[in-house]
Symmetry: C2
Subunit: 398 residues, 2 copies
């Protein structure tokens, strides 16, 4: 067991109509002039944004809006947000949407509160020393950005997808109404659940031990997400199932599922970032396309954790033949991904990288990570290449 820091200051209001607390919460946290950030015009057209902005008006809070955030949110939009917030004199940042909007907002916060170019923080050539206060209404259960210290931005110049982690960007408050996720389509719902699960699995598969309470929470969370994802795909308006997934989203990435570990492996995330940067695929789907290949490569080196996972999460019968249990656990996880419409190879993302692109992906991943990734097993550029290559077409494993 490792020592750890645990810090989740975000005030969460969870349940029906909580988005209507936006004005009240902004006022409570001292906001007077607010940049309101969002993604597609869907929330303008369906009236959600208007309803929320009305609560700002009622609380005497001035606001200016910036929409147009896309999945794998872009640096150019971040720069636009920084300029707009400066001109407007914003003292608080507020967003409505999924993790892409929030990650963009976090980057705007860094850009406003620090001198110099905001991209430096994503290239890790400098660390942010301040941020802006952030409030958020979540409409998509996926990235767990809502309570996390993480923000991931894609720079169109070179299509680099890079993350910056700092406690400074954890939101002051988050309003989480599961009803707002009911209109998310099946593919994005499933991709979101995969992302939620991977935030726990990345922490679960680590070399330096864990805690029993952390494992127990992690294993329970994975089972709850799997069960309830099946439910919402059958009935998208199942409030309780949407709520289970939404709350798991926050808990999976706020640090709770990593207490006592060394922080986790994160290889799949690192590998996916390059896929997302180059091909603009849905993040959760990209993770599913990589995971099985990664798991088969590293499970020999971490048999205890993969065995525990197979038995406690995937309900594989314990057996003396440890590797049989482990491979069955991996097989069942992939089977689950496919059952919710997720791909388990890169081809399933609708992309077939050329040989040159496979080398480029590995090169970019190595360059972004100082040459190696992973704690379950340390992977170097040739291993990254091997995973990308093996993950292209795995139809024989299905």
């Amino acid at each position: 067991m490792k020592g750890f820091k645990y810090y989740t200051p975000t005030e969460v209001r969870f349940g029906k109509d909580t988005e209507l607390k936006a004005g009240e919460m902004l006022k409570k946290y001292g906001a007077t002039r607010v940049l309101v950030h969002y993604g597609s015009d869907r929330i303008v057209e369906n009236g959600l944004l208007g309803k929320i902005l009305k609560t700002l008006d009622e609380n005497g809070i001035a606001h200016t809006e910036l929409g147009g955030v896309v999945p794998n949110p872009r640096l150019s939009k971040v720069r636009e947000g920084i300029e707009l917030a400066k001109e407007f004199g914003a003292d608080f940042l507020f967003g409505v949407g999924g993790g892409s909007v929030l990650d963009s907002l976090k980057a705007i916060g860094y850009g406003l509160a620090n001198e110099g170019d905001v991209w430096d923080f994503y290239e890790h050539t400098r660390k942010p020393e301040a941020s802006m206060p952030i409030g958020f209404v979540l409409t998509l259960s996926a990235t767990g950005s809502v309570m996390s210290d993480s923000s991931v931005i894609t720079n169109e110049d070179g299509w680099k997808k890079r993350g910056c982690n700092s406690d400074l960007c954890r939101p002051k408050f988050a309003l989480m109404n599961p009803e707002l996720t009911m209109t998310v389509n099946p593919y994005q719902t499933a991709s979101g659940s995969a992302d939620i699960m991977m935030h726990t699995m990345e922490r679960y598969f680590n070399r330096l031990g864990s805690m029993e309470i952390t494992d127990s929470i992690a294993e329970g969370l994975l089972k709850v997400v799997m069960k309830n994802t099946k439910k919402v795909l059958e009935d998208p308006t199942d409030y309780n199932a949407r709520a289970e997934i939404m709350w798991c989203e926050a808990l999976s990435h706020n640090g709770l599922t990593g207490c006592g570990t060394d922080g986790g492996d994160w290889s799949c995330h690192r590998l996916e970032h390059e896929l997302g940067g180059l091909y603009d695929v849905a993040h959760g789907a990209g993770l599913c396309a990589i995971w099985g290949t990664w798991a088969r490569m590293v499970c020999d080196d971490l048999p205890d954790r993969f065995y525990k996972f197979a038995v406690n999460v995937m309900d594989v019968e314990p057996d003396k033949d440890e590797m049989k249990v482990i491979y069955e656990g991996i097989r069942r996880m992939e089977e689950f991904f496919r059952s919710i419409g997720m791909p388990t190879d890169i081809k399933g993302l609708g992309v077939v990288p050329t040989g040159e692109e496979l080398h480029l992906l590995a090169e970019k991943c190595a360059a972004a990570t100082g040459g190696h990734i992973g704690s379950a097993l340390t992977l170097y550029e040739e291993d990254m290449y091997r995973i990308y290559k093996d993950a292209v077409d795995r139809s024989e494993d299905k």
Copy 2:
């Protein structure tokens, strides 16, 4: 499932030597003049307090000390702390010890930051509007005060034990080194574990539903605490087991195990508060002395939850005869309490209340709670009396 608020802003540093971060953390949070609160002189004699104060000196933080906090912490000590902190001009409160020291510190914070008599907040005639920032080094795993919104104080005038809940008092930071709990004696260790478990059980047994993820976390936490309490009673220096219990302490009472519930039942806590106020018994032990009697009285009215508890926590074999499973679950819980040296009746606390005292306990409990307690089953003064009476001697159930 109910909507909920979740707010756990306390920055936790968990692991070996974290107590030596005291000065650094106080500085980070802007402290310059600090009241240092503690309990027995044991931490002076064994050098712990000195080591910690050295880190304050190294960070240029002025401090004055006030020891002598006792279990079921007293209002007179709170008043002494308020006076001392005022004279000293303290801008931050800091403590070393268990939940009693922290609860006393929280009360001092209310007294300093609000006009009027601090006891008003515990009598619920007024609500606190402010508090003082608090940092803490935990040396006993029990009350969960370390991340909670709760403070419980005993007024010697009438021996009333009353609680005040407010987010204002959640500590800014907590330093949790499991090694510091290794010298806690077996009875206090067991009593602490019982308290930790009861914070989850009070939330678990409620009428208005829960969430699957909350139940999963709660059930896992109870099993982890039971298993590791047995371990530390066998080997008090088992670091990992001490760590599991310590982290469960914080999670059990920071709100996590109540998300999606109606807040919980809390009857046993309310009933125990009067026992603690009148007879000064260890809080966890007092809860154990009440729980079985309470559970048998209310389980008929909440069979689904008691059945789930029996099967998922106490490993009772599922059976068509629901009440058989439920009673076996209760029996096993009481058996566990006894196995760690906890009483399962009031006599076991070394106290045999007279008939008059039983009425007084029920009267005081009703007076303190507006006449009724509980959400599993609403209990009125005559029910309270009945539980106290039935709980005096339960040797026939063992």
